[in-house]
């Protein structure tokens, strides 16, 4: 290199696409303390601070590669003795040479940096103040809106709850008495060996079975309404609850010839009795609709992942840990078009079974009570899978404003 090049009042370095240094001038060498020999063949990142290395990889290099030039980029060089040297860099990528060479000049900006730092601080303070102010105004507005909305919801919720409780009382008391009477009278007709002929006895049998069904229906409805009465949540051991629910379902069906395979599931916060009921109905369903030619296999798998806790509030985000549970059986499956239908009250896909269509709506309601989601994934012949996503904890601290 000629003398003029070495005495230029700016640092100069040339390197190739792989970052290998091809040449440096004396000015740069005198700044950073490495000799020309130490730098020749070394990687350009040798003279960068850690943060500048990252910036080089994420910004400087992509920019020069795609645009062939970069102007006024702020970088920090690192001297051999560890001192930081703030510089402004201009670079061009010369594609006439082989290999392509990146020519880069540095200007020391020690004084300017202080000035810019001040500018930046002032700017950031102003921006922060502006953001904070805007956020406060927005928050105050939405807080008021939410309060009014909450009040309204509270009022209507209270009314609904009162109605439901009354309704529940009607089901558990007032409706039970006539059902019981119908059953007794039908029984009397059947036992009446004198007067009733065979035809009437057959009719009485039908009345009996209709009354049985009515009884099951009222019991189911009562369960559906009263499940909300559970107000205290606690830590629930999912493995324990699933096993318990399976035992109960097994007893209810008098059926124990099945496999229950579960992985190690996490503990979650929730309404313990509801969660048990949820699995009871899933297992109950699987038993009720099992393939008679196969041994029933129930598989429960879980995975912890982060999902947005806001389900209904638009444009709000807070990602918190949830558990995703996949509950699968090897039964005949449900046709895909029934995916949502089965969660509606008193809807039955299979009218030949004894079910009343309250199990899955109850499951859905319990999932809703836990601010979770449930989906069905099934096809004819491939079994049924329920995918349930529940938050790990019931209380979520409000999302803190993001620090920028």
């Amino acid at each position: 290199m000629n003398h003029q090049f070495d005495v230029l009042p700016c640092g100069y370095v040339a390197f190739d696409d792989a970052g290998t240094i091809v040449s440096v001038n004396e000015t740069l060498v005198s700044w950073i303390g490495f000799s020309k020999d130490e730098l020749a063949g070394a990687n350009i990142e040798k003279i960068f601070t850690v943060s500048t290395r990252i910036f080089h990889n994420t910004h400087f290099f992509p920019l020069i590669k795609l645009q062939s030039k970069v102007n006024e980029v702020f970088l920090t060089l690192k001297g051999k003795d560890g001192t930081d040297l703030p510089v402004l860099a201009n670079a061009i990528r010369n594609t006439d040479t082989s290999p392509f060479t990146i020519h880069c000049v540095f200007m020391l900006v020690e004084e300017r940096k202080k000035f810019e730092q001040e500018l930046l601080n002032a700017r950031r303070d102003a921006e922060d103040a502006l953001t904070q102010n805007k956020r406060l105004v927005e928050l105050t507005g939405s807080l008021q809106e939410y309060s009014v909305e909450l009040d309204k919801q509270y009022r209507s919720q209270k009314k609904i709850t009162e109605n439901l409780l009354q309704f529940s009382k009607i089901i558990s008391h007032d409706l039970q008495e006539p059902i019981r009477k119908i059953q007794i009278f039908a029984d009397m007709i059947m036992r009446d060996t004198g007067g009733a002929d065979q035809k009437n006895k057959n009719l009485a049998t039908k009345i009996q079975s209709a009354a049985e069904r009515l009884k099951a229906l009222t019991a189911g409805l009562q369960e559906y309404i009263e499940v909300d009465a559970e107000r205290l949540y606690r830590t629930v051991d999912l493995n324990e609850v699933v096993n318990l629910a399976a035992q109960k379902a097994s007893r209810a069906h008098g059926y124990s010839d099945f496999d229950l395979q579960t992985d190690q599931m996490p503990n979650i916060e929730g309404y313990a009795a509801q969660i048990e009921l949820l699995f009871f109905h899933l297992i109950d369903n699987a038993m009720k609709f099992r393939d008679p030619d196969k041994r029933l296999i129930l598989k429960v798998e879980s995975l912890v992942l982060e999902e947005n806790i806001f389900r209904f509030t638009h444009e709000r985000y807070k990602y918190v840990p949830h558990v995703r549970i996949r509950f699968c059986d090897n039964g005949p499956g449900i046709r895909n078009e029934y995916r949502n239908y089965v969660f509606q009250l008193l809807r039955k896909v299979d009218h030949t079974t004894t079910g009343i269509g309250l199990g899955l709506p109850l499951v859905k309601k319990i999932v809703d009570n836990h601010a979770g989601e449930i989906k069905i994934d099934s096809g004819i012949g491939s079994g049924t899978c329920f995918e349930i996503v529940l938050p790990l904890t019931m209380t979520q601290a409000p999302s803190a404003p993001v620090q920028t």
Partner: protein
């Protein structure tokens, strides 16, 4: 929904083929960074490119600070794009932080992905007891500072102009020329979400076959980190490239293309 997402994420679809490759750019850039890679795959695959909200030519009005303060928010962009285009079992190619974004997306919706190709992945950039990420918190704070200093010009001139005149084409041209520059606040936010993320515990949840492309001498994702990712993703293959640096798809496109092709040709 479909049109909104396509516009929001500046989604581009190229090439033809029954199998789709979805390319996801990393921190600091936009979909332009794939332009040395995509031509090699256009004849055999459908190519989908997009910009994360806040990057490139995405719709800045859709930027939500709360959502994009976490990689999960970016993962939702990937899922949104898959859903909008009705994509199933795509080959996901993610650079840098997009590797972890892709992993998060694949944990949430495994059915959307058939393979993950991770270029320079790192589940955690900051060193922890017994874990080498390559950086300490101070390095990252310095990086944020460097970024701030480099965005002075942009923030003072271009940003206000774009904000005020969304429809003006000459400004759009300037935006193209200022490739890789983003609103400084958004860039800072993305830097934070990226460099302070810790997704180590998520790796073992990935059940999708994965190819890890590890560069030589990559300061952002050093060898130890590539080994760590390989060790913790069950069905992963580790391929060490001769390419140095953190952007092999830009510095050594031929080798990067060959590595991806070798992996895909063995399967499709």
């Amino acid at each position: 929904m479909r049109e909104t997402i396509i516009k929001r994420n500046n989604v581009k679809v190229l090439g033809g083929g029954s199998k789709t490759i979805l390319f996801a750019h990393g921190f600091g850039c936009d979909q332009n960074m794939w332009r040395f890679i995509t031509p090699a795959f256009e004849s055999k695959y459908k190519i989908v490119l997009f910009d994360y909200v806040g990057a490139g030519r995405s719709d800045l009005r859709a930027y939500n600070e709360e959502r994009y303060s976490h990689l999960n928010g970016y993962a939702q962009d990937v899922l949104d794009v898959c859903e909008a285009l009705n994509l199933q079992r795509v080959i996901f190619v993610g650079h840098s932080v997009s590797s972890m974004i892709g992993i998060l997306a694949a944990i949430k919706k495994p059915g959307f992905f058939s393979d993950l190709i991770l270029i320079g992945p790192s589940p955690c950039y900051i060193n922890h007891d017994g874990y080498v990420g390559g950086f300490n918190s101070k390095d990252i704070e310095d990086l944020l500072d460097t970024m701030d200093k480099n965005y002075i010009g942009w923030a003072n001139f271009l940003a206000p102009a774009i904000m005020k005149n969304p429809g003006k084409p000459e400004l759009a041209k300037e935006l193209t020329e200022s490739f890789c520059s983003t609103d400084p606040k958004i860039a800072r936010h993305f830097a934070r979400a990226t460099f302070f993320s810790d997704n180590r515990k998520d790796l073992s949840k990935v059940k999708i076959p994965s190819l890890i492309l590890q560069c030589s001498d990559d300061i952002i994702a050093p060898y130890e980190v590539g080994d760590y990712v390989h060790e913790h993703i069950d069905s992963s293959t580790l391929k060490v490239l001769k390419a140095t640096g953190h952007c092999p798809h830009m510095s050594h496109p031929e080798e990067t293309i060959a590595a991806i092709q070798e992996y895909l040709d063995s399967k499709y």
